[in-house]
């Protein structure tokens, strides 16, 4: 560990603060591992870009705020994501979306996030130094691997970062490139493998994209639960896969898939089930996935908007553009 140094002492760990990397633990779905990684991959990559890291370098995901950490070394940090957290450096307001220098003894703190948005991301120059497990440093708590001992941070954890040779340039993300946070979200989807015509009816699809869905309080990195809804379904039963028409013979799920657990649609998260026996009626496209990470459980509303494959790919390119530090302002 000669090339890394202690950077933070965790004074207050928050609800479930996790070390993540991006794109996480890929290629292991056939063993039952979704990739983990940040729920809002855009804010995560922007935070890394602001401190001169590779966009996927290990950084913190802070759901709901309430984190306090003390700097143990001179370094550079950036916080992105949810608004209304009362983010401060030594009791003075600290800006979101900017490179900030800290020195030993400095304290970074946030309160409970008021929103809009739900998750904060904190990156440090060099990236957080945790062991590589099965190809990634991302924390996956259910599997007990990655990050700090496969778990959320606790009070007293000391985080290390890889050493950097020179200070990063101080940057700020211009307003036009900041992800637009909301309370009523428009989330881009494409039809899933079990949409119409053979699973849903055309009217069911119209219902899915035509109404507002409330985000259930019981939502997390495994899945974002929506409200119960009786679809008409294009077939009376799931046959051999089970009596309910949402039942299919088990198969693998796409990340971001909208999975119907009986009558309850669930958006599959980065720690979600990789497979199962329920229909996937739609899928959130890559460019829209970050929004799912910023939904406030129990409060926010979603409208789904259907996009074409070409539009989905164009939107993904636009998202990638916002994570490129060449487009940021120099301070």
């Amino acid at each position: 560990m000669t090339d890394s140094h202690a950077v933070f002492d965790i004074v207050m760990p928050g609800l479930q603060t996790l070390v993540q990397d991006y794109p996480g633990r890929r290629g292991l779905q056939s063993k039952g591992f979704f990739p983990s990684g940040p729920m809002d991959h855009v804010s995560f990559r922007i935070a890394n870009a602001l401190v001169g890291n590779e966009p996927g370098a290990p950084a913190l995901e802070i759901p709901m705020g309430r984190l306090t950490l003390r700097a143990l070394a001179e370094t550079w940090v950036a916080v992105t994501g949810a608004e209304g957290s009362g983010l401060r450096l030594n009791s003075r307001p600290m800006p979101l979306g900017e490179t900030v220098r800290v020195v030993p003894g400095d304290e970074i703190a946030c309160s409970i996030v008021k929103g809009p948005g739900f998750r904060l991301y904190l990156a440090v120059a060099g990236g957080i130094d945790v062991p590589m497990v099965m190809g990634s440093r991302a924390t996956y708590t259910m599997g007990g691997i990655g990050g700090v001992e496969g778990r959320a941070l606790v009070k007293g954890d000391v985080l290390r970062a890889r050493a950097v040779t020179a200070p990063p340039p101080r940057l700020r993300v211009p307003a036009s490139l900041r992800p637009a946070l909301a309370n009523l979200w428009e989330v881009e989807v494409m039809r899933g493998p079990h949409a119409d015509p053979d699973f849903l009816t055309e009217q069911d699809w119209k219902d899915l994209v035509g109404r507002e869905w409330k985000v259930d309080l019981n939502s997390n990195r495994v899945g974002t639960r929506l409200e119960s809804h009786r679809f008409q379904w294009a077939r009376p039963s799931g046959g051999v896969a089970g009596g309910h028409p949402s039942n299919v013979l088990d198969g693998s799920y796409p990340i971001g898939g909208i999975n119907t657990n009986g009558d309850v649609p669930v958006i599959l998260g980065p720690d979600g089930p990789t497979a199962g026996g329920f229909t996937v009626i739609a899928a959130v496209v890559q460019a829209g996935l970050w929004k799912v990470g910023q939904l406030r459980p129990g409060r926010d509303l979603i409208r789904f908007r259907e996009v074409s494959l070409d539009e989905a790919l164009a939107l993904a390119a636009r998202v990638d553009y916002t994570t490129d530090p060449h487009h940021y302002e120099e301070l």
Binding site: S30, G32, G144, G262
Partner: protein, 320 residues
């Protein structure tokens, strides 16, 4: 727009193929009809192996299902059309699955039926999520499974579970969960899944959803009807040496046989696993599709009669 991107008709022994859209990074390939036909799974296994040996640039992973493959791809490297062309080629390279001989281990696991942790998961569900679900009676799913299949009682269900080897068609859900199907078609029981799903299931719980039996490898949400509990099948800390090289016990193509034990015996076995004293019973073996098909053919008439009776019972039973 429609979910179906492309279709290929059945040809010779090769099943019909449907390509379905699953967002901008995934395509789901489905084989044959939605039926409990293990030949479809053998075909999936063969195509998965072919793609592993002949990697397609831009294909991040081909993740199998019972009768499907989910293709995760990078559109910047390979677009949807080129991806489908590449997978078509893998399909064309397949010979009949009927002569396949696959490496397959036979793993014998203890099972305690109607154990207290499964009952606890059902109880929590009834308390916090859905009280009046038809699949719950006295904090258990067992009597519902019995009724849905028209079985004579709990013992008939337990006999159906212990009376066949279970084929692990693939792994998924959470790390190391086997999706298992009965190799003796007479033992094919089926049941709808939860509506909505549970938020908690004990590690080691054994349940059934549709015709598929699964072992929960970690504490997890879940939608299967629970009927028992077994020993750990996943341990990333490798507290038992069986997990030393791989945290996952049951691989695709392995078979599991359940042996009934009392709950006290199971709890003792589970303690022994943590102390590396338990003896997992694993036989290295092979699985011949030819032999399987011959055995299945012998009992087909009996299996069909049983299935008709079970379908009639299902039609009389409320769905959650």
């Amino acid at each position: 727009m429609t979910a179906i991107i492309n279709r290929r008709p059945a040809e010779g022994d090769r099943p019909a193929i449907v390509y379905r859209a699953a967002g901008d990074r995934h395509v789901l390939v489905e084989y044959g009809e939605m039926a409990l036909d293990l030949e479809l799974n053998f075909f999936v296994t063969a195509v998965t192996a072919h793609l592993a040996e002949h990697p397609v640039p831009g294909l991040v992973e081909a993740a199998p299902g019972f009768r499907s493959l989910l293709l995760h791809h990078e559109p910047a490297i390979i677009d949807r059309k080129a991806l489908i062309d590449a997978v078509d080629e893998a399909h064309r390279a397949q010979r009949s699955v009927r002569s396949l001989v696959l490496p397959s281990r036979l793993i014998t696991l203890p099972i305690a039926f109607d154990d207290s942790e499964s009952r606890e998961a059902v109880r929590r569900y009834a308390t916090t999520i859905r009280q009046e679900a038809p699949n719950i009676r006295d904090n258990s799913n067992i009597d519902y499974i019995v009724e849905y299949n028209g079985l004579s009682g709990r013992d008939a269900l337990y006999a159906a579970v212990t009376g066949t080897e279970w084929w692990n068609a693939y792994t998924g859900f959470f790390p190391g969960l086997p999706f298992m199907f009965p190799l003796d078609p007479r033992n094919a029981i089926t049941v709808p899944k939860y509506n909505p799903t549970r938020t908690w299931t004990a590690e080691g719980a054994v349940g059934i959803g549709g015709p598929c039996v699964a072992i929960y490898p970690v504490e997890a949400p879940g939608g299967y009807q629970l009927f028992g509990r077994t020993v750990p099948v996943y341990d990333v800390l490798a507290r038992h040496e069986v997990f030393r090289d791989d945290p996952i016990l049951i691989r695709p193509g392995d078979r599991v046989r359940f042996e009934p034990v009392s709950e006290d015996q199971l709890l003792a076995a589970r303690r022994d696993v943590l102390e590396n004293r338990y003896e997992y019973v694993i036989e290295n073996d092979q699985f011949s599709v030819t032999d399987y098909l011959a055995r299945a053919a012998e009992v087909r008439a009996e299996a069909d009669t049983l299935r008709s009776a079970r379908e009639a019972a299902a039609a009389r039973t409320e769905v959650p």
